[in-house]
């Protein structure tokens, strides 16, 4: 049992948990969280893929890809959250 | 010998290009619109005359380009096409005059004449299509161009009729698409050629060929109003009179009948179709339609409905002539394509005049109309008598050849059928004439609802004179009958 297998399985599990949350969660904020979990799961897979048995150095390309993925995800999250805030305000105005 | 290969294209484009101009004209530019309408119609007629003369001399026109690999958009002017093109060009001019008079102050004239133009372009395209693919394109265009004309009044009733019309014809078009595709997949070509393109397929897969025949004839049979696909035609009567005239005489119904000719003669070839055992059922279906249409016509009180059922019956004469698989019957069928057009357009224009001028829409209201509109009613009488088949009028000529053809093909029942049908024709037309001429007007002193101008009066009289002429001078050179013989010689490859 090597770290890549352990963390690879972890990544898949986290992705699956996120997937279930994204599809089944009712709360808007929670769905964003679920999607974020999915992205961490995908990050795990790439980082695990880059890992080499020490002392070999890991492959730097997937690392760069995950960093890109993280920035992309925070952008998407920001937009989703802005939509949630706006929608919430509009709905609250309607209730008044 | 080929020269000016673009002539068919130019003929097609005259009215096609006129359409956007007519759409764009403002409603009030009535004079300009009339000028364009008549000018283009006259130009087209002249061009068609030129084309027929050239084709008569043996020039072959053929213009095509590739739409998909191997699949061509193709126009050709063969004698059969010329027959139909001449009819539509001539009657378009006459109907245009009539429409200008009819719609003088109505709404949406820009739209009307635009689609009117498109409609005749589509008809010309149907006539000159050089393969089934091109035929399909114009066949569908015809549906689309006529739909706004059918519902021109914009009432709930006309929209309902329009929907039924659209469902029938577009479903037919879809089946035609299926058939065309199947032909393309089976035969590798969709070209029209005398003798057909399916010999190899028939030898290989008889059942597929038979199914293809049913699909293709069924598809065009919708527009040809073959029973049981005819229901849309009487309902489409809500259209304005010039539209009905055009629909019944030139455009839609005729496109269907013409399609049957193309399919039987040039996709399958008459011999192949006969060998497949498909012509006899088709003839029987045509016979049923002839009798059914006439019987229904007798029971109608609404003039236009009676005329519509009469069309159902009369157009099937053409199908019958094709299906009998005898060259003599074919002459009758082709001649009837022209003759029925002339007769029926006269009647519909008269019906329009009665409704517009006197407010008469029903047979039971026709008492004494002959005295109030003598010219118009004389035209109607000539057309009606011709339709019944009184010698030497137009209808008689076609029926005569059909009967001869029936004997030639060994189908004696055709004689009985034609006699029966003529009797039924008489049964629904003669009472109309009797009421018009021999009964006193119920309200003789009532002022006419509206004066009928020359633009409404002249067209039916003109076409009535033509009915007399094509019957009386049937054997003259350049008569439709003569041209018909020319066509049949080609189709039967004699």
């Amino acid at each position: 049992m090597t770290p890549d297998l352990i963390y690879g399985a972890t990544g898949i599990a986290v992705f699956a948990i996120g997937l279930i949350g994204a599809l089944c969660a009712q709360d808007r904020l929670r769905r964003v969280l679920a999607l974020k979990l999915c992205s961490v799961g995908a990050g795990f897979i790439l980082v695990v893929g880059a890992w080499r048995i020490p002392p070999a150095d890991p492959d730097p390309v997937p690392h760069a890809l995950v960093i890109t993925g993280i920035v992309v995800m925070v952008s998407a999250t920001a937009v989703a959250l802005a939509l949630i805030r706006r929608l919430h305000t509009l709905e609250a105005e309607d209730d008044d | 010998m080929t020269e000016t290969p673009f002539l068919p294209l130019i003929i097609l484009l005259t009215s096609l290009l006129a359409a956007p101009v007519l759409f764009a004209l403002p409603e009030r530019a009535a004079r300009l619109r009339t000028g364009i309408n008549l000018g283009v119609a006259a130009l087209k007629l002249v061009l068609v005359g030129w084309l027929s003369w050239k084709v008569g001399q043996g020039v072959i026109y053929d213009i095509s380009f590739e739409v998909l690999p191997g699949l061509e958009f193709k126009l050709q002017a063969d004698p059969l096409a010329i027959l139909f093109v001449s009819l539509s060009a001539l009657l378009w001019l006459i109907t245009t005059v009539y429409s200008v008079g009819y719609l003088e102050s109505g709404p949406h004239r820009a739209r009307f004449f635009g689609f009117f133009s498109l409609c005749v372009s589509a008809t010309v395209g149907v006539a000159m299509a050089g393969n089934l693919f091109t035929f399909l394109i114009f066949y569908e265009l015809l549906t689309l161009a006529t739909y706004p004309l059918v519902i021109h009044r914009g009432t709930a009733e006309s929209l309902r009729a329009g929907r039924i019309y659209l469902i029938y014809t577009l479903a037919g078009g879809l089946v035609l698409l299926l058939g065309t595709l199947a032909l393309w997949v089976l035969a590798g070509t969709t070209d029209f050629s005398p003798g057909g393109v399916l010999e190899a397929v028939v030898a290989e897969n008889r059942l597929a060929a038979q199914m293809l025949f049913v699909v293709l004839v069924g598809a065009v049979g919708v527009k040809a109003a073959l029973v049981p696909l005819h229901a849309w035609l009487p309902i489409a009567m809500v259209a304005p009179a010039p539209v009905s005239a055009l629909l019944h005489a030139v455009a839609v119904v005729k496109a269907g009948a013409f399609g049957i000719m193309r399919v039987v003669y040039e996709v399958f070839g008459i011999e192949t179709a006969q060998a497949l055992g498909m012509t006899a059922p088709l003839a029987a279906l045509a016979g049923i339609t002839i009798i059914y249409g006439s019987l229904k016509a007798i029971t109608q009180d609404d003039i236009k409905k009676r005329l519509a059922y009469s069309t159902v019956s009369q157009v099937s004469y053409i199908t019958l002539g094709v299906a009998l698989a005898s060259p003599i019957a074919a002459v009758g069928a082709l001649a009837h394509l022209i003759h029925q057009g002339l007769m029926k357009i006269t009647m519909f224009m008269v019906a329009g005049n009665l409704a517009e001028g006197l407010g008469v829409k029903k047979v039971s209201e026709m008492d004494g109309v002959g005295r109030r509109m003598p010219g118009t009613m004389l035209a109607f009488s000539a057309a009606a008598l011709a339709m019944i088949g009184l010698p030497p009028l137009a209808g008689f000529v076609s029926k005569w050849y059909l009967a001869q053809g029936g004997l030639d093909a060994g189908a004696v029942w055709v004689i009985a059928l034609l006699l029966g049908s003529s009797l039924l024709n008489a049964l629904y037309f003669l009472p109309m004439l009797q009421r018009a001429w021999f009964r006193d007007p119920t309200d003789a002193d009532a002022p006419p609802k509206q004066r009928i101008g020359w633009m409404l009066a002249a067209p039916p009289i003109t076409t009535a004179l033509m009915v007399l002429a094509v019957g009386g001078f049937a054997n003259a050179p350049f008569s439709p009958l003569e041209w018909t013989r020319f066509v049949v010689a080609i189709e039967y490859q004699e």
Partner: protein, 480 residues
Amino acid sequence: MTIDPITLAVFVPLFGAIAAFVFPRAAVWLGLGAVLATCATVLGLAREVLAAGEVVTPLGGWAPPLGISLRADGLSVAMLGMSAIVGLLVSFGALDALRDLRQRQYFWPLWLLLLTGMNGVYLSTDIFNLYVMIEVIALAAVGLTVLSGTKDAVRAGLEYMYASILGALLFLMGVGFVYLQLGRLDFAGLIAAEPSGALSAALALMVIGLLLKTALFPLHFWLPAAHANATAPASALLSGLVVKAALYIFLRLTTYMPLPDEILVTLIGALGAGAVLWGGVQALRAERLKLLVAWSTVTQIGLIFLAFARAGQVGLTESWKAAALLILAHGVAKSAMFLAAGRIKDEVGHDRIADLDKSDIRPTLAQFTFALAAISLIGLPPSLGFIGKWSLMEGAMAAGYWHWVAVTMIGTLMSVAYFSRVFAGFLRFDRMRGELAEHKGWALADIAPLTLAVAAISLGLMAAPILSFIELGYPFGELP
């Protein structure tokens, strides 16, 4: 400094977006100029592709698999051309349709970023780069969806955002598995790869993500509301262009990594059939014009997947062409239709189908445009939609897939039925209260959709040259 048009196709709209964002007052003219310049660039690229068959640029001088290269062939240029030309005309339409100043200020940078993303997708040869590009598209598209700022639009935009993120993440996960399996991410690596179970799983993940983004039934749930509630130019872009980007990636991927199993091909076809039928039913039930048009997008996507449904087999490259034709046809016709629907809504003041005939204002030209676009979407001759449908049915028939022929025909009939609901509203005149207002003549916003609709109809006769152009550079397998 000499720069190939292939790079400029991505950079021109990017600089346009930056300029339009930094100078909001001049956003309209900067934006329009950038779109025009993009058109010119695409034209230049088209000439190069015509001459050479394909154009490849390794960015940074690093060849794949280490670097990323841009590649243009017939198919990519056809997609670029469609985006540029449809985009240009929609831009003209937007000049008139967006009256709110702040809407206009944000429309241009977002739309140009969208164009950047789409052009990037069509030129990309690297699957991770595709992931970044679809995210650019997603964020810009969501921004455009909620441009109107109404509650319905924001709610639909949020659903769209969730679907977009999830689709992109599924795609990213697939990218991860491709890396695990192959150790590289470029198309050439995919083509050279030996088929294996793990690779199929990666492909499946990416495909599910893409299907979500392109809204194939039953993953279409987000689309109707999003497209129906956006402002008209945004709807036109979203429906006409944006869904095509994911479709294009799907087309590329399944060309390079053929679907491993006939069952999967059938499944794709079945989903397409489901889209055609379900979308048709929903369009028949839709109460609002724009919603009807949006549901029609669902059915059209389904139709395109019906064309894909026999792609897995050897030698049947025809179905790809049918799909490509249908994609182009839908792009042109649907954008025309959404713009026209927007015009009708603007003029009449609402877009309830049942009440269209109660209005004394009839935007004739917009209605005419709508009808022309409908002709292409129904698939009546001689439109591009007809030629696409012809190719689709021809392929299905030749392969003996009569069930797909039947579905196509039923779908066509349904489209006649739902569009004729609209025509009835246009053409019925006896329910008006007053006199019919004289038609107002031409407006700038009418010309763009009309041009698009006329193009959708007349391009059908030019299908042969279009197809031979698309085949340049062998996009459909058989790489030299």
